[in-house]
Symmetry: C2
Subunit: 370 residues, 2 copies
């Protein structure tokens, strides 16, 4: 056992639990103190039932004519991709073996048209997702739908000592998928209709997701010919992103497993399904991958509340952990000997089973001497 793998195990044994299917469940909203003490402070997720039972949204929003009627004068942000994967790694248009970080085509369209696009989505044609992670609920929907749900989650607001920084609405279908990433927020994720399937990994497991820099690109969708164009950003901009796709196609599975052994052979990610009426507390800095199943009308509807996180000792530990590199981004130090194969090692390289990581430990004075 080596230190980083011990960390992955220890955080599970001490705090999170060792069963990947057991996220703690609460039958009713916790008190602010209980929530802060047992979940926020230890950075531990939970699912809360009966926390939003009083929301009219639960019965109103699955009804598309209610939504269309209420939002008949609203235009909303619509994300369109060929396959349902936005903010995700896809092959560049010129080289199938080279990946880029692709953002969706985004348009602002009348709500009724947007909803129709979600419902008529088809892989290979287009996949539409009503979402925008910039407080879109409050800016685009709240005037019409604000009285159907709470503006914030009361016990979370009291625990965290602030109102949400952003509230986002998500209306999509089973084709949309969100790739592994983390947010610098405490997240309360309420499912209104359909269900969401999460894979969760704690921040301690950062190395298992093989975060690499990928060039940014964007989809452009032409409504006239129904075609997508994937354009690399100019000048090139690199986005650090998780390399792991947890659900590779059967053809790609062997190569993905070989490329990302720490993910596929390490402790399983926590897996949970959040059903309509339930709220997931997704702690800050946790990596999450999201898929969804629609309600009988074909939609998954959710709303999430982003609260400011504390940049405290946990965050400092995380940054230190993440700074321990392996592979091409290895920290080089003057003590590295020429005979070492360290600088050539790569976690995905079979020749680098016991990949070395170099961390300089120096006194401040020593640093100044140099």
């Amino acid at each position: 056992m080596v230190p980083i793998a011990s960390l992955w195990d220890e955080v599970r044994e001490l705090s999170l639990g060792t069963s990947a299917t057991k996220i703690e469940r609460l039958d009713s909203p916790p008190s602010p103190l209980h929530f802060l003490r047992n979940f926020v402070s230890p950075n531990k997720p939970c699912i809360i039932s009966n926390a939003i039972s009083h929301w009219p949204a639960l019965s109103l929003w699955p009804n598309h004519s209610y939504l269309s009627h209420s939002l008949s004068n609203s235009s909303v942000s619509l994300h369109i991709t060929p396959h349902g994967r936005a903010d995700s790694l896809v092959p560049t248009s010129t080289n199938a073996h080279s990946l880029c970080f692709a953002s969706a085509h985004v348009e602002r369209v009348p709500f009724t048209l947007a909803l129709d696009r979600v419902l008529t989505s088809e892989r290979g044609k287009y996949v539409a997702y009503l979402q925008q992670q910039n407080d879109c609920f409050r800016t685009e929907y709240a005037a019409a739908l604000g009285s159907d749900c709470d503006a914030h989650i009361g016990w979370a607001t009291e625990a965290l000592g602030c109102l949400p920084e952003a509230v986002n609405l998500w209306i999509g279908n089973h084709l949309s998928e969100t790739s592994f990433h983390k947010d610098h927020y405490e997240n309360l994720y309420a499912v209104v209709s359909g269900q969401k399937d999460f894979l969760l990994l704690p921040p301690t497991d950062v190395h298992r997701l093989y975060i690499r820099n990928y060039p940014a690109a964007q989809y452009f969708y032409s409504q006239e010919n129904g075609e997508f164009r994937l354009e690399m950003e100019e000048p090139v901009r690199y986005v650090p992103w998780c390399s792991v796709d947890p659900y590779p196609s059967p053809q790609a599975e062997d190569s993905e497993r070989a490329k990302f052994p720490s993910y596929f052979n390490g402790p399983k990610p926590f897996k949970c399904t959040v059903k309509a009426g339930e709220v997931l507390y997704l702690p800050s800095m946790w990596f999450h991958h999201v898929r969804q199943s629609p309600d009988e009308k074909g939609c998954t509807i959710a709303i999430n509340y982003w609260y400011d996180m504390q940049f405290d000792i946990k965050y400092a530990y995380f940054n230190f952990l993440q700074s321990i590199h392996c592979g091409p981004r290895l920290t080089q130090t003057k003590h590295e000997t020429s005979g070492s194969d360290v600088s050539n090692c790569n976690l995905s390289d079979k020749s680098c089973k016991g990949a070395l990581v170099l961390v300089g430990v120096e006194s401040n004075q020593d640093s100044k001497d140099e």
Copy 2:
């Protein structure tokens, strides 16, 4: 700047503050939520005024006849050393250059005799300290003095969700000093008379204290001839302890600074004085060194409440950080090249300014392969 030194700086810049003399001060007891959110969760100390103003102890305990009268039938634990440093590193009796971890001579004596020993302490003769870190207040004193103070700190109990695991009383003089160490408890430290001077270092700074294994020893004091005997434990038992003495004698200063450059040249420890009537929240896993100044009767009196800590992600991060070794305990891996000087390095060795640390990063499968 190298990663571990960045961690020392970052936790200060993000959360603790960069002024070593500025521990946050509260003018009145915090609400449980405020205490949990702003101090316990981020693992951040604070000093609270007016939290124990209602204790009769504040006026009663400085009065020695009150104490002697109330405790006239009690016997209590008394720690005796030649110099006031118990649970501390001292030269072994056979070799002045070899250090051991020495515990005090402990006896259970009538309170009045014990207090007299504290007041007649003299360096070179003996230094007595009324203390025992095993819940001594509740077991030895509470029957007589329990109504003079609170059995627990109400807002802390509510925040932490449990009653104290141990409550300890400390009656000493200016000669007693507690060497750098950490406790696996959340600690509320209330000063009743005199004052306590703390040096505090966050758990992120663990490498700066040069924790090494020292053989355990114990003082035995003979009342007949007034002499101490320092006996090594048999069979030998090693205790991991902080090597740094923050206040070396003028003669030893140069060599101490050379041996422990990360301590003496890194960010200064937080320094605070807790006066009679004030409470220090000393977060779990923080390293602390304590000296004291007596009241006009010659005593410092304090009582501390140890609450269970959460063994959560912070603790897992700490263990990982601590597992990164340098020097003799360096983790060796098969990738270490023979040309490297890493295995000979030592933080106190001038030739090892940029001491390397090796951390194996392996997938579980890889580990099994070997």
